[in-house]
């Protein structure tokens, strides 16, 4: 798509686009290139000399058992966050889509957690689930549940999943609601006339017609679980106990912070870049499909 009516000027457009290009080159491309370059280098312990080692940093990563563990932790965490937040928000959106009284009020009350920072969401939940003073933790203890996220990896995972899901419901809810409202009512009425009950209408008509929205949200939720939950994890568990809640992004953050292994940290960054490229490609492929549709 191109505009036909345009202005002709030689220098003005260059001046207009220069700020963005400059910032992009300095803060995006240069660091990204640095990360790739650094991932091929090994520095000695004192930072005095560096050696070009090709893929040794990558090999080292994949021979370490706990990098694999970080991978599986990330997959499990992303799956739980995406699955739970999508299911809950779809359930809520379907109810809010029914023309009941006060649907607008429900919408307002459900969407605002989008504005809460992930780190703050983590703090809110840890206040209730803290084993020594949290009110939910206390109720669980009196119900006989042994809850200790400070020592038990599974409990810690539950903790970060709850806070991450809580924060993401509002986003998914909004998109599901928009998707549901875009489905022509006549199709659903036709099915009702043919005698399909509400459960059947949902699974054979509404859910399939909603699939572009669902697919888009699956990708967005995976990206969210991978990248945006860093604040949740850092405020709640710092990746612990014993790295049970350490995701790929949290690990790059934590490893590089110690500053010991720049090459290894850079190699992890490059792997993450490939993951982002893959996810973005999937997202755009889907958008193309939607345009045709």
């Amino acid at each position: 798509m191109e505009k036909r009516a345009i202005f002709s000027n030689r220098f003005l457009p260059l001046a207009l686009i220069a700020p963005q290009i400059l910032i992009t080159l300095v803060f995006f491309y240069w660091p990204a290139i640095q990360a790739v370059w650094q991932s091929f280098l090994i520095e000695d312990a004192f930072g005095l000399s560096t050696e070009f080692v090709w893929f040794e940093n990558y090999q080292l990563l994949f021979t370490k058992a706990h990098y694999f563990r970080t991978f599986t932790t990330t997959m499990l965490f992303s799956f739980l966050v995406a699955f739970l937040s999508l299911t809950i928000s779809l359930l809520l959106a379907v109810q809010a889509d029914k023309s009941i009284k006060g649907a607008g009020v429900y919408r307002t009350l459900l969407i605002w957690p989008y504005a809460v920072a992930p780190a703050v969401a983590g703090v809110l939940w840890i206040f209730m689930l803290n084993p020594s003073l949290g009110m939910i933790a206390k109720a669980m203890r009196s119900a006989g549940i042994d809850w200790n996220p400070l020592l038990n990896g599974g409990d810690a995972m539950t903790l970060v999943v709850i806070a991450s899901v809580w924060k993401q419901i509002s986003y998914n809810f909004l998109f599901f609601l928009a998707g549901l409202q875009a489905i022509p009512k006549s199709v659903i009425e036709a099915a009702a006339i043919d005698g399909a009950g509400s459960a059947r209408r949902f699974w054979t008509i509404i859910f399939p017609l909603l699939s572009p929205t669902t697919f888009f949200l699956v990708v967005v939720n995976i990206v969210y679980a991978f990248f945006d939950t860093l604040g949740v994890i850092d405020s709640m568990t710092q990746g612990g106990p014993a790295k049970a809640t350490e995701t790929l992004v949290y690990r790059v953050f934590a490893d590089g912070r110690l500053g010991s292994d720049l090459g290894g940290s850079a190699a992890q960054s490059v792997i993450l870049m490939f993951i982002v490229v893959g996810l973005t490609a999937i997202q755009f492929k889907y958008i193309e499909r939607k345009v045709e549709y």
Binding site: F7, I21, F27, Q95, A117, V120, G256, V277
Partner: protein
């Protein structure tokens, strides 16, 4: 017509009410927690009704800070967060407007190259280039400055793509009419295009303000001085390593203050927020 059962409606209300309770409960507990004193919370028997320490807690946290952890008063952090969020939102809108204008309304050498250079940044979120970007900022002596805090975040493809998309829908006749009236590109931009873009800009502002306010990773790396901290970073630092040292009533007051501005923005400008969210994600 679809059958309407009374039972179905009751069920819908019930599910939505449960959802709202789950969504709102943590914030309710935080508000309650911010009105009690430290001992009531520490012994684990905090009631679900407000206590009498509301003014005391908020005054202390806003102007004095906590005792044992980060001692910076939260008023400073709020100001830092506000400056960061405003600079990111306004900066992003400004540079994206200009670059989208150049790409849509002009033909110049390397136009498509420039477009792709901007577009590909979608695939380079700050999380994957954390430390090299940090090094660039350090080399430019921008640590602990508002510039260092915001500049690397104001270039992004989303806003540019959004404005480009919007400009494509602006009728060509407007350009031709302006040209006949003898207006140049600068006059057209300010007199015609900017007023037309007002809603898009406002919707984008809502989303970007929240994005800026809630930044975590970048400020935690770039700020080392306590007086440069944002509130989202400050609250994390208030959680002391030793549980008993955490002053929870103050942490909760800070959490409430940290949520308030972005939540007010979302609720007050709900329609712009929804428009911004659905359009930037396309």
């Amino acid at each position: 017509m679809i059958e309407r059962s009374h039972l179905g409606n009751v069920l819908a209300h019930l599910i939505l009410i449960i959802g709202v309770v789950i969504i709102c409960f943590p914030v309710y507990v935080a508000v309650i927690g911010s009105t009690h004193d430290a001992t009531t919370i520490a012994n684990g028997n905090m009631p679900l009704v407000p206590g009498g320490h509301f003014l005391e807690n908020y005054y202390r946290i806003l102007f004095e800070g906590t005792k044992s952890t980060t001692r910076e008063p939260v008023a400073t952090m709020l100001l830092n967060s506000l400056i960061m969020a405003m600079m990111i939102a306004v900066g992003k809108i400004a540079i994206s407007l200009l670059s989208a204008y150049a790409i849509v309304y002009f033909r110049f050498r390397f136009r498509m190259v420039a477009f792709w250079v901007i577009f590909i940044t979608l695939m380079l979120p700050v999380e994957v280039r954390i430390y090299p970007t940090y090094k660039v900022i350090a080399d430019l002596h921008m640590l602990d400055t508002y510039t260092g805090l915001t500049l690397p975040l104001i270039a992004s493809a989303t806003a540019t793509l959004l404005f480009r998309q919007f400009f494509m829908t602006v009728p060509d006749e407007l350009v031709e009419a302006s040209k006949i009236d003898g207006a140049g590109p600068v006059k057209f931009f300010f007199d015609t295009l900017l007023p037309l873009s007002r809603t898009t800009m406002a919707a984008l502002f809502v989303i970007l303000f929240i994005y800026g306010w809630n930044q975590y990773l970048w400020p935690i790396l770039i700020t080392t001085r306590d007086d440069m901290q944002t509130i989202v970073i400050g609250i994390k630092k208030m959680l002391a390593v030793v549980d008993a040292l955490t002053e929870w009533q103050l942490v909760m007051a800070t959490a409430v203050l940290a949520m308030l501005p972005p939540v007010v923005v979302v609720v007050a400008m709900q329609n712009l927020f929804i428009k911004g969210l659905t359009e930037t994600e396309k």
